[in-house]
């Protein structure tokens, strides 16, 4: 793109800043509204920062079980990502290194999963998990989240493990290493960048997941953050600063992850699709 940099692109810049406004105004609104007092929030000019900002809405959200929901979200996300990455790495290893038909057929089957919308599975999952006695548990969110995260995770890891030089595998085998040893001391360390990328991507998806939680859980003890936003809305009713504070609080952990791992997140987003 060196060519473009030599000519100022006025149209591009104007368009870019217009889109920036479209993106930023709602986010800005959420943040400043969360700092307003509930009384009189409506009479202020809502686009100006509050004259007497307060954290009282944040205190209110924290009182209403926010930490419990945060903990649930952490459990669901960590469990889903850990299992997904572990089983997908094993699968990717076999898919890349095995010449057996089972590996090829499995890969094709897994790739077909990319085209299955998770919305279409909520009724049967509700049926199956109720039958299994798992309805209204964190496991009811974790298990299908793993299932739906596996295809894209395997795809990204396969693309990466394929680039590990064959000679490394062969020299380890000559040394007499078994498959677990190769997986652990060769594939795992060399695939680490891809693992981080895909873990961040999966974590974002699961952290923000709403539908499984809505359909497969019910009680407050098993509530995760996105669902808690929905219930806060019911409880707080017209307390808009309160709802906005809940929105900000639920986003903070993922914002931290974004700041720490932006590069991984961005490459995770495109890695699975733009090959």
């Amino acid at each position: 793109m060196s060519v473009q940099s030599r000519r100022p692109n006025v149209l591009g810049a104007v368009g870019g800043f217009v889109w920036l406004a479209v993106i930023i105004v709602p986010i800005y609104y959420v943040v400043i509204t969360s700092l307003r007092r509930q009384e009189g929030y409506f009479t202020d000019n809502q686009l100006l920062p509050p004259s007497n900002p307060t954290l009282e809405s944040y205190a209110l959200v924290l009182e209403r079980g926010f930490l419990l929901y945060l903990g649930n979200s952490v459990i669901v996300t960590v469990a889903t990502v850990a299992v997904t990455v572990a089983v997908s790495l094993m699968a990717a290893f076999v898919i890349v290194r095995s010449t057996r038909w089972t590996a090829r057929v499995s890969f094709t089957l897994l790739l077909m999963g990319l085209a299955i919308p998770l919305q279409a599975t909520i009724v049967p999952l509700f049926y199956m998990l109720s039958k299994a006695g798992l309805y209204d548990s964190l496991l009811a969110i974790i298990l299908p989240s793993i299932g739906f995260a596996i295809p894209v995770t395997v795809l990204i890891l396969v693309n990466f493990v394929r680039d590990i030089p064959k000679e490394l595998f062969e020299s380890m085998r000559v040394d007499g290493s078994g498959q677990w040893r190769i997986l652990w001391s060769l594939v795992f360390p060399l695939a680490r960048p891809a693992i981080v990328t895909v873990a961040v991507y999966d974590a974002l998806t699961v952290w923000n997941g709403f539908l499984f939680a809505l359909v497969l859980t019910q009680s407050p003890e098993n509530r995760v953050l996105p669902l808690s936003l929905w219930t806060f809305q019911g409880e707080f009713n017209v307390n808009v600063p309160g709802i906005m504070a809940a929105v900000v609080l639920s986003t903070l952990p993922i914002l931290a992850l974004y700041i720490l791992g932006r590069r991984q997140l961005v490459s995770g987003m495109t890695a699975g699709f733009s090959k």
């Binding site: 793109m1 473009q4 940099s5 030599r6 591009g12 810049a13 368009g15 870019g16 920036l20 993106i23 930023i24 709602p26 409506f42 202020d44 000019n45 572990a86 089983v87 094993m90 699968a91 076999v94 290194r97 095995s98 010449t99 089972t102 590996a103 499995s106 999963g113 085209a115 919308p117 998770l118 919305q119 279409a120 599975t121 909520i122 009724v123 049967p124 999952l125 509700f126 298990l143 299908p144 793993i146 299932g147 739906f148 498959q179 190769i182 952290w207 923000n208 709403f210 539908l211 359909v215 936003l229 809305q233 017209v238 709802i243 906005m244 914002l255 932006r262 961005v266 987003m269 733009s274």
Partner: protein, 315 residues
């Protein structure tokens, strides 16, 4: 294939011992297919089996409490002939097509823009990306309070145009939902286009400049042919994404979406979990799967033509 590759080794047993040993070990030491099992089992149980169960449930009457009872094709005839399905299908087509038409040019524009190496563009790109980390519930709640006709931004700023019943009017909510879909997903598609544009060899742009091409000519003759595959990928994800859009609509309408925005996935949820007609909801789930696969395979075969043409055309 596996038979063919294994055969020479069994035949080669009379060879010198060390050679056979090495060859035999190479084959035998391939990772065992058992390592595939955990991923396959989890995927099968929670992605594939549910599809089969949905198909089964679509032939049953089930109110979510008692046991399902066989109903034959009743649900299928009833749902496919219902006004709410026809309405949902029409709305879904509208949402899918319009949001593709809205998102594609914006994503392309932003993607090409942030593919530039200028520092300020990189900073903007970081900000453009923010909507992607927000949950749908958070996005829906933000827009719900911004658009509230009595307490929202329009009322507060005293701008009559902004103070409409955005979420209550069936035509307006369609506009709003399409806008929010774009707000949420243009960042992702811009990323795809950015990656696509950055893969184009710089020599092509240099050649275009030497030929005196203006920006539009460069885009039409260099950038566009080079990112055809990205357009296909992005379009597939966009179309299937808006076909299955649910979370934002559900939260935005407080869980009671009107017929103005009851697109298929919303119709499916309400049929199943609000009206307790799980058989009917399963029919709608199968329709969703079929439409999703239709879009995905339709685009892939259509784009087969595009892939036959060289990406390096004109080099």
């Amino acid at each position: 294939m596996s038979v063919l590759t294994r055969a020479p080794e069994t035949i080669s047993s009379p060879r010198p011992l060390h050679e056979t040993a090495v060859k035999g070990r190479l084959k035998k030491d391939e990772p065992s297919s058992l390592l595939l099992l955990p991923a396959l089992v989890l995927y099968a149980l929670f992605v594939v089996v549910p599809l089969a169960v949905a198909l089964y449930l679509s032939f049953t009457r089930w109110d979510a409490i008692s046991d399902p009872t066989w109903a034959g094709f009743d649900n299928w005839f009833r749902i496919l002939a219902s006004d709410s399905f026809v309405n949902g299908l029409m709305l879904s087509v509208k949402v899918v097509v319009i949001s593709w038409l809205v998102q594609t040019p914006i994503s392309l524009f932003i993607g090409v823009f942030i593919a530039g190496k200028q520092r300020y563009r990189a900073v903007l790109a970081t900000l453009f990306f923010l909507p992607l980390i927000l949950s749908s519930a958070a996005v829906a709640l933000a827009f719900k309070s911004i658009l509230d006709p009595n307490f929202g931004l329009g009322a507060s700023l005293g701008i009559p145009w902004l103070r409409q019943d955005w979420l209550g009017d069936p035509d307006l909510i369609l506009v709003i939902v399409i806008f929010i879909i774009a707000w949420q997903f243009v960042p992702f598609h811009s990323l795809l286009y950015q990656a696509g544009v950055r893969q184009i060899p710089p020599s092509l742009f240099e050649a275009a400049e030497l030929d005196g091409a203006n920006r539009l000519q460069t885009f039409v003759n260099v950038t566009w042919p080079q990112i055809r595959n990205t357009v296909v990928t992005s379009s597939t994800i966009m179309l299937v994404g808006s076909l299955t859009y649910f979370d934002v609509i559900f939260v935005l309408t407080g869980g009671v979406p009107g017929f103005g925005i009851r697109i298929l996935p919303v119709d499916m949820y309400l049929t199943g979990f609000a009206a307790n007609d799980m058989g009917g909801a399963s029919v709608l789930a199968m329709v969703l799967v079929a439409l999703g696969l239709l879009i995905a395979s339709g685009i892939t075969s259509f784009s087969g033509f595009a892939k036959m043409r060289s990406q390096q055309e004109g080099m």
